[in-house]
């Protein structure tokens, strides 16, 4: 190889290479790139000499020409993260330059955040989302770690053998309710997973969190299917699914997250948390408390995402009301046209079919709580929907058995009332 450059000589001295070793390197068949890369890291001089032995003794060996690209500068070095109370979390290791999440990610391949591509080895792919504002939420890395920390197993963590026997109508109502939410879980899993390939690699925390939601949604579908069948040997009827269509038909990522992780999840979390009131066995209360905890993470991601989006996305002020109205419309259509969930809840609140008026009142109170929780959660994250939310949602707080979408209600019902409801019978 040619003589070492002044810079290389200086680095060789810093690495304690003797004059003999430097001379030997110069006389060897090692290439300039090899030597430069070896000098890039600290390797004891006697080990460098042994490497030269190998290069000289076996010049035709495939690895005698090893380039050592791995020693070239990639990302920041020398950082020593410390674990936090919950172990070595993503947020613990993503320090220094690795913790900097760019507003716009500039690589179109699967390059991890914190390094650079090797020249000539860069293959772009078809990712679609490069703006942080489109996917980010504060704390998303911790939500990922929380999901792993809080994992549970329906097959063995639930007390199946000790599950209390319920009266036939109550059992059927429980099974039907589980069937509805299990079916939603299957669709939730499909919807979230199909967006993963659009998200570029600079925002890996988001991809990781979404993977936990896919996993959670599958577990929800599984656990509730088991519960339904465990009680009666049948599953029941499938819901209409208009709420799922709102997730499925979303045209942008944020549109989808608003529909699924904000609007729907807000209603779901409140319903699951209220299982303390409507579930009729300790088993079912335990099951729904676990599901509520999972869904709470998804809701938190959704709310924090819209907070971020409102702060940083262009035209968010114009878009968000549209996203919310579409999502509320899907949910409202489901609540009004798909009677399975509300009827099962009414029977459960009534603890049977003898006192259905009381059951309907329990359901009404749940709808009221869902509606107010929804508005409050949005408000806490900077979005005011009081007086703006689609009318049907407000109407269900007064008449939870509202059956069909009524165009008049869409414009008149924002004050959570009105008389244009269409009911059965």
């Amino acid at each position: 190889m040619p003589p070492l450059s002044p810079a290389q000589k200086m680095r060789a001295q810093v690495r304690n290479w003797s004059a003999d070793l430097i001379e030997r390197v110069v006389q060897s068949t090692a290439t300039g790139r090899q030597v430069d890369n070896v000098l890039n890291i600290s390797i004891a001089p006697d080990r460098v000499a042994k490497w030269l032995d190998f290069v000289e003794e076996q010049p035709d060996h495939p690895f005698a020409q090893a380039q050592f690209i791995m020693f070239e500068d990639g990302g920041e070095t020398g950082l020593k993260p410390a674990p936090s109370e919950d172990g070595m979390r993503l947020t613990d290791v993503d320090i220094g330059s690795y913790g900097v999440v760019p507003d716009v990610w500039k690589y179109r391949n699967d390059l991890p955040r914190g390094t650079r591509p090797v020249a000539g080895l860069y293959m772009p792919a078809g990712y679609a989302i490069y703006d942080r504002a489109e996917v980010w939420a504060d704390g998303v890395g911790d939500l990922y770690e929380d999901a792993i920390r809080d994992r549970w197993i329906p097959a063995t963590d639930l007390d199946w053998e000790g599950r209390e026997e319920l009266a036939p109508e109550v059992e059927r109502a429980t099974g039907q309710l589980c069937a509805v939410y299990s079916s939603y879980g299957i669709t939730e899993q499909k919807v979230i997973s199909k967006w993963l390939e659009d998200i570029s690699y600079g925002f890996h925390e988001v991809k990781l969190f979404l993977a936990t939601q896919v996993y959670d949604a599958g577990r929800k579908a599984e656990a509730l299917r088991k519960r339904s069948l465990h009680g009666s040997g049948i599953i029941g009827k499938a819901p209409l699914g208009d709420v799922c269509e709102a997730w499925y038909n979303a045209l942008t990522y944020t549109d989808m997250i608003v529909a699924l992780d904000v609007v729907y999840k807000s209603y779901e979390v409140t319903a699951f948390e209220c299982a303390a009131d409507w579930a009729r066995s300790d088993f079912d209360r335990d099951l729904f408390a676990r599901l509520a905890s999972d869904s709470q993470r998804h809701l938190e991601y959704g709310l924090k995402h819209i907070e971020w989006y409102m702060r940083y996305a262009e035209r968010a002020d114009e878009e968000m009301p549209i996203f919310l109205a579409k999502a509320e419309g899907g949910l409202a259509s489901e609540l009004a046209q798909s009677p399975l969930e509300r009827e099962a809840l009414a029977v459960l609140y009534a603890d049977g079919v003898e006192r259905l008026d009381a059951g309907v009142e329990g359901l009404r109170q749940l709808r009221e709580k869902q509606y107010h929780d929804y508005l409050r959660r949005l408000s806490e994250h900077g979005v005011n929907r009081v007086g703006e939310a689609i009318g049907i949602l407000g109407l269900t707080t007064q008449d939870p058995l509202l059956q069909a979408l009524n165009p008049a209600a869409l414009v008149e019902g924002q004050a959570a009332g009105g008389s244009d409801m269409i009911r059965d019978n």
Partner: protein
């Protein structure tokens, strides 16, 4: 049977569905599993093709007003694996946490070349592992809910791959070595357009090569943290491979006309892997593996021999999978560079 209740605003016709007193769920040592509820009207046996193109899972009575969904495979052979239920339950039982289950404090100081080699390998792995999440992510949508167990299993794969991206990123960053420059990665896999193409290329082939490597973690891991990281990841990959093997086997058995199509996927990928993206063949990770296996740059010749052993193991295990799925005849058309490594 419960009789219908007349009540304003309530229909309650779902209360009239016949319950099934013969349905008998055994709570075994593994609890209430998907296998234990796979019976009678809710079971998959005898369901060879899906019904309506809806989101209503098997055993449900669908709402006739529900939207149709065209992007669903309806033939069971397109998506099914006889092991999906078992593997799903196993995945839930064997989840682990990179934050808590890896003894990160065992890494300690190590020579720069060893540290950088491990960081290079793990930069590559953190780069490619979630491609194996993005690709299945595309196909969950296409699994008809009548065969939802395959979908559930793929959901666990997404979770596993997320953890792999995470654990290898943590290894890169935890000991000061930092990211190495990133090579080609695996975005080529995003071109996959069919479920069975995915299992052939991703599971039978690509993940298989990675899993063989992980199983040699005792050789390349320099401390307990790294060995455990590879051990646990190998366990996850084994499930993915098992799914791919059992799905492809099911496809070959039920759709034998697709054998040539499967061969063609592999014809292309064996060539690509051998020239571009192979873990043991691409210069960046190949060199890193040799430094790790040999114990430093001065032992590259020993390292090289061990990398060759790894490669031989990768290809022999790949061939074994081909035999299991009914593609053992592939030996005659396999890329020559791979065929010459087969010792069976």
């Amino acid at each position: 049977m419960v009789t219908a209740i007349e009540n304003p605003g309530l229909n309650l016709d779902w209360l009239n569905l016949e319950t099934d007193d013969e349905f008998d769920i055994k709570t075994g040592r593994k609890g209430v599993t998907l296998q234990s509820i796979n019976q009678r009207m809710a079971g998959v046996e005898g369901v060879d093709a899906a019904d309506a193109r809806s989101f209503a899972p098997r055993g449900f009575e669908a709402d006739p007003r529900s939207n149709a969904h065209a992007r669903q495979y309806r033939d069971k052979g397109d998506v099914w694996s006889e092991s999906a239920m078992l593997l799903y339950e196993e995945a839930l039982q064997r989840q682990w946490s990179s934050a808590r289950d890896i003894p990160w404090d065992t890494i300690g100081d190590q020579p720069d070349d060893i540290e950088k080699a491990m960081c290079t390998l793990c930069t590559f792995l953190t780069q490619v592992e979630f491609i194996a999440g993005d690709v299945p992510g595309r196909f969950l949508e296409s699994v008809h809910p009548d065969f939802f167990e395959s979908q559930l299993f793929l959901g666990t794969q997404l979770m596993d791959e997320a953890r792999h991206l995470d654990v290898f990123r943590k290894r890169v960053l935890v000991n000061g070595g930092g990211m190495s420059p990133a090579g080609l990665g695996a975005v080529g896999l995003l071109a996959i357009d069919d479920f069975t193409e995915m299992t052939a290329i991703l599971h039978l082939f690509a993940e298989g090569l990675v899993q063989s490597l992980f199983r040699m973690g005792e050789l390349i891991g320099q401390n307990e943290a790294e060995k455990r990281m590879f051990r646990l990841s190998a366990q996850d990959e084994s499930r993915h491979l098992a799914f791919g093997v059992t799905h492809t086997k099911y496809t070959v058995e039920t759709q034998p006309w697709r054998k040539e199509e499967l061969h063609h996927y592999l014809d292309i990928n064996e060539t690509v892997q051998n020239t571009q993206a192979g873990l043991t063949t691409n210069p960046i990770t190949g060199e890193a593996l040799a430094v790790l296996a040999g114990g430093g740059i001065e032992y590259l010749d020993e390292g090289y021999n061990l990398v060759l052993l790894m490669r031989k193991k990768q290809i022999n295990e790949y061939y074994h999978r081909l035999q299991v799925v009914g593609l053992g005849d592939r030996i005659d058309r396999m890329a020559p560079e791979l065929r010459e490594l087969i010792t069976v």
